[in-house]
Symmetry: C2
Subunit: 611 residues, 2 copies
């Protein structure tokens, strides 16, 4: 009943090879000069094999079995330990970790694709190793040499897993309210550097306890004595579960306690732990009071991964719904394709019914458009980290910085919506566990919440990244999209529909530009304005990015000599996007404009409390 995962390798190849022309970027990076699209695809094929064979089969069983908490220990669902070992043995954790940190140093772009596959096959499974790259990068960039020598190799290889301990009951979005404490432990002599004793309670700690690895390395935000209040008084500490990690039976346990795991809507196979640190020994990473900056290295890496979870859920939703719609027959068809061989007097596959075709095309618009944008961000990260030209690196940094919050919020909201829309294709069966799609709905919902809620992403985009630089990065993005619009419409030989869509894309840019300038102007006098429209503004930019993705896709699919159905369906989907889905852009723009014109009432506390 549960359709097994199939990696979208054909589409990934299209994006990497044709849409991004990744090899051209790689040629500029000495380490990657030999890398080409064919090699990249081979790596992804191998990844797909691992994901399909080892990870996907545990998706439903992991959801049913869940994690078990007993006596402070967490037991993972059957099969998770073995498949994680295979992941480590295959070298996958280190795929895109930089070579000087001990990784394989392959492009981030490939890891983005790998993370999409893992999340689509089994989101909960990905949660365990999901922080490895970020934690490695954080420790590599900010850790002292002695600490790195001991911990980095085992973290990079995946031999030990890591956590990110930020949230406390009273401090979620507002990290300035964190209370966990760290005091110097002068009595401890350690070759790792000056030790500290960490105390405090942390919640929502993914993988705070599990039986996948022999040690767990927690990265914990806490306050030193007399640290300033707010986020500028937070320092980051490495706190291992086991202190003496020789593996001997006498090894010393640190004061790190898992006090329970949450019962959640989904992600049942990922333990979300309540942690208590009781005078646990730890070592500072980076400078005192600068912990948040160090941890942001992890959080940024995590945000793109979460964005790809949104793509992944949309992909899973598409696969499940399309396969079901092709198989399930109900009611005669209203219209049939030219090559339809069924008996028109008999019930037809529901995939032929117009409402289902709309849903399925909506899913494709989202999943394929977002995949292109997500991998594009991965490419910007690669350019930012590796391009020999400083200006190119800075430009790529700007693009990645602007696009990441959009991708995180927009993709995850669409991933959940895609899952629910796909569920609808199943009719009543969609509500039943064994068809799998209801798990996708439950699992996908979390991505809108963690790594900064989608509302926080929207504020990051509009207040910090757009108003914060007076619109410079945003204008640079619009100029880039306008180049694509020009490429679509200004060629004499361009087919009429490509010209038309190029002009549409130009208009969208003009429209986005106009409302952005208005926001920049009005926000000076109306401080609340950006906060009341941020979510709609982010979604508007999201739809603009999908328009960009589909215009570029259409141009490539028109230029090809290939008669492959793949390209014909890319053209059909692009047309559908600009015929139908484009209405979403205008809705969001109207809501932003509404915010510019109209104030936003307060409801009374009595009403909020139901009195």
């Amino acid at each position: 009943m549960t359709s097994s995962y199939r990696a979208p390798l054909r589409d990934m190849r299209f994006v990497i090879d044709e849409w991004l022309d990744a090899a051209t970027v790689w040629r500029n990076v000495p380490d990657w000069a030999d890398l080409d699209a064919a090699t990249a695809v081979q790596i992804l094929e191998e990844a797909a094999r691992f994901v399909t064979e080892q990870v996907a089969p545990l998706n439903s069983s992991g959801d049913l079995e869940g994690c078990r908490f007993e006596g402070g220990e967490v037991t993972m669902p059957a099969g998770f330990r073995d498949s994680y070992r295979a992941y480590v043995d295959g070298g996958w954790p280190a795929l895109a970790i930089s070579a000087d940190a001990g990784g394989q140093g392959l492009p981030q772009l490939l890891e983005v694709a790998l993370h999409e596959m893992l999340a689509a096959a089994n989101h909960a499974w990905l949660m365990s190793p999901g922080l490895t790259h970020g934690a490695s990068a954080c420790l590599h960039a900010h850790g002292a040499q002695s600490l790195k020598a001991h911990y980095l190799p085992k973290i990079v290889s995946g031999e030990w897993l890591t956590t990110m301990c930020l949230t406390e009951p009273q401090a979620g979005t507002d990290l300035g309210l964190l209370r966990a404490k760290a005091v110097p432990a002068a009595e401890v002599r350690s070759e790792l550097g000056d030790a500290y004793r960490i105390s405090g309670n942390k919640i929502f700690i993914t993988g705070g306890a599990h039986d996948l690895t022999d040690n767990i390395v927690h990265l914990v935000l806490a306050r030193l004595p007399e640290a300033p209040a707010g986020t500028r008084g937070l320092s980051l500490f490495l706190v291992p579960q086991w202190l003496d990690d020789s593996g001997s039976p006498q090894r010393v346990r640190n004061g790190v306690h898992c006090e329970g795991i949450e019962k959640k809507m989904g992600l049942k196979a990922s333990p979300t732990c309540t942690m208590r640190f009781g005078d646990a020994l730890g070592w500072m990473i980076g400078e005192a009071h600068r912990g948040l900056a160090a941890m942001f290295v992890m959080m940024n890496a995590a945000r793109l991964q979460v964005a790809m979870q949104g793509v992944a859920h949309a992909q899973t939703a598409w696969q499940r719904a399309s396969a079901y719609a092709a198989e399930r027959t109900q009611m005669r068809a209203i219209t049939t394709p030219a090559d339809y061989r069924g008996d028109p007097a008999q019930p037809a596959p529901i995939a032929l019914h117009p409402a289902m075709r709309r849903t399925l095309l909506d899913l494709r618009c989202v999943v394929e458009g977002e995949r292109a944008i997500g991998l594009w961000i991965g490419q910007w990260l690669d350019i930012a980290a590796h391009h020999p030209d400083e200006n190119e690196r800075a430009k790529a940094e700007r693009f990645a910085s602007l696009l990441t919050p959009v991708a995180k919020a927009f993709f995850t909201a669409n991933g959940f919506a895609a899952a629910s829309n796909a569920l609808q294709v199943f009719g009543g069966y969609g509500y039943i566990h064994e068809y799998g799609i209801e798990q996708t709905v439950r699992d996908s919902r979390v991505s809108m919440l963690y790594e900064g809620t989608n509302q926080i992403q929207a504020i990051d985009l509009l207040v910090r990244k757009t108003i914060g630089d007076r619109g410079e990065k945003l204008r640079e993005l619009l100029a880039h999209i306008l180049d694509e619009a020009a490429a679509c419409s200004h060629k004499e030989t361009a087919p009429a529909e490509l010209t038309r869509i190029g002009h549409t894309l130009e208009q969208l840019c003009a429209s986005a530009s106009q409302i952005t300038e208005e926001l920049l102007e009005q926000s000076a006098a109306d401080k609340e304005l950006p906060y009341r429209v941020a979510d709609d503004y982010l979604a508007m930019i999201g739809w603009l990015l999908l328009a960009y993705a589909w215009a570029r896709t259409l141009r490539i699919a028109h230029a090809t000599d290939s008669a492959e159905t793949f390209y014909a369906e890319k053209r059909a989907t692009a047309r559908y996007f600009f015929d139908y889905r484009i209405a979403e852009f205008e809705r969001c723009r109207q809501l932003v404009e509404a915010g510019c014109r109209a104030s936003l009432p307060f409801l009374s506390m009595e009403t909020l409390n139901g009195n």
Copy 2:
């Protein structure tokens, strides 16, 4: 952590007394001549007490415990049997069942409000008695006297519960594919009439087995020998679980077997049964081959109840989110209301943050606007059944017929969206079971699927009810809304904002009229057109209805002398609706227009199957 349910009695009183002016309708009905708004509110207060004390406390525990299936029997969660007995003892099942069928004969309007409360407090609990009114009406209208004499009193009182057995594995939306068989059982002598033997498998049977009542009466669609194929060969049968229902230990069990219950996304406390009928004895209801028409009596009643589940989930979502947002403090406020007494340097209740205010106002727009429309439909049903003037009855029948599919699909889609949006207010806590909102998300999803998927409702609205009568009913609705627009804008003394909103409502009607006429015209030549835009068309009419609801509310809230915050917040919410949410109407209209202009591609079967 789980906020307890509070019945929205103040708003229900507003709708019944001021928005609907229900008493004026009741004065025209002899049986209700003594009924006034105050009495109606007293009944609802009593209902609210029952719901709050007996039903709401079982919502979370029922979800956790679920139903137990063992040896063909289903055990309901703790507390369900006692609270159901109290429901029967209170006379609630019979509240709005007509007096000549043995009910209390009170207005349907009150039952609609009761069903909203029950669904908001505990959706799964409502599933058990949810079919009582519909089954009573069906049996009363179509059953033979002998059958009614035996079964109707116990069904009406709630002493025995009923099921509706339609769906089979191969036949969901497409009831023409049903295979269950009925053959005359000439050997059986029964005072109930001619007996039949029913055989076949039915799925998704709500309450097919449970321990709430001593007998369960199944209404089953099946085919007589040599019945025509398709839906015109279906007959309806009454099939009791127990044949000799004297209650003696020797009573005879019928050939009705529950073979299992589904593991579902939500509604864990409602058993969804797989039923096998093996030569079960049954008696026909109504004429041979006319079973679907008889069962439609049940399905229509059920559709409005499902619509109110959407309102209920939005209400629950609002209550949970607003209470949490008032209590949870994070980040300083950007702006504060004039009467804010908090320290601006300290973290503020998140209810003050603009993104949360948007969400909370969105929830109110939906829940209060929909409640008015839902109760309005209830009023139309009352007029259709009881008004002394035949023309008034016919008009009310037309309105109810047109509005019911809109309410079913639009309210349930909004109920699920409201639940998810409310979950977002909780941040990470929203994903945790103990905060309750994730259950609301899971429970609310089913209402978009059952009693005809939302796609089927959209086809019913556009193809059957609008194109089917060349737009007559739709034009009558628009004329009714235009009257309200005129009342808002054409009074000389009207405040400026009311005039403005009246004009907006006029424009929405003009816009809806224009696109409807275009659909009527184009659909003649383009048979696929209504099917490709039906969902958007239904949503467009839904937003128009909410605009109608809020314009009328605004007019009433301007006319009042009361200084109650309730009216000030009605005005603020109405303004918010027309400032912001109204963008949804235009989005839907654009999508309908897109469907008029653009064709809809087919994806290949290879692509759908992932090859």
